[in-house]
Amino acid sequence: MVPLNWYLLLAFLMFTIGIMGVLLRRNVLIVLMSIELMLNSANLVFIVFSRYLLNVGGQVMVLLVIAVAAAEVAVGLGIVVALYRHIHSVDLEKVNLMKW
């Protein structure tokens, strides 16, 4: 049986990779995908604790988180497409009209 710590370490590693993707990339699609990676690692933590505490509520939570992620991706990609129509780029450094 794989110890609990290994699963949690993997989840935290994926979460950190997601954070670095959000911070270090300027392509907005890569940033959105890194956010999905972070949500996915949180799902893994839920499932792991659902298995180790024998509580099925963790899996129910993962179901709801997947639904929320789907809604968020839909709205986020809608914003990306609408933004592309205006500035014809997916570079986040070009979205700077409200910067001081």
Partner: protein, 166 residues
């Protein structure tokens, strides 16, 4: 062990996602992360959630990403990007710091169980719990999906006079 194969595959695909120049490569890397994660879910006695992950996450959300990537039709010169070295260094240091702190915290956990519930992740049990105890969050997520649909339609709605709303 299967866990090690999936873990190494997931970490490698994550690094490919974060470091790739082409968005299509990143999409394929994220798809592989989700599929390997689904294997881990099956190992963790959650077969229903594993199936839902493949169908919804990989089969709908990533397909949406591929649609948008193909629709935007980015040229190579548009996807080339530079981050200043100072910001890159700060980002990498932050990532290493987070991994260090979280790893130290994780290593303190001692929680093992030898009990196995055979039907822990079965659709019957997940569905019964979802509709018994968590009926309110279920209805709220349904309302959230409706709000998302309305929001996307509002973003792309044309005004009454025929001009597009900014």
């Amino acid at each position: 062990m299967l866990f090690l194969i999936c873990a190494l595959g997931m970490v490698g695909s994550g690094v490919v996602l974060v470091a790739s120049r082409q968005p299509v490569t990143a999409v394929i890397a994220l798809i592989s992360v989700f599929l390997l994660q689904s294997v881990l879910y099956v190992l963790l006695h959650a077969p229903f959630i594993a199936a839902i992950q493949v169908i919804v996450y990989t089969g709908a959300i990533m397909v949406l990403f591929i649609f948008v990537v193909m629709l935007l039709n980015l040229k190579e010169r548009q996807t080339w990007e530079t981050i200043g070295t100072r910001r890159r260094l700060m980002g990498i240091l932050l990532g290493l710091g987070i991994v260090l702190i979280l790893g130290l915290g994780v290593s303190q956990i001692t929680l093992t169980t030898e009990r196995i519930a055979e039907d822990l992740g079965s659709p019957q049990k997940v569905g019964k719990t979802l509709f018994d105890r968590y009926a309110l969050p279920l209805e709220m997520v349904a309302l959230l999906l409706l709000i998302a649909i309305v929001a996307v339609m509002e973003i792309f709605k044309k005004g009454v006079g025929g001009k597009t709303t900014p």
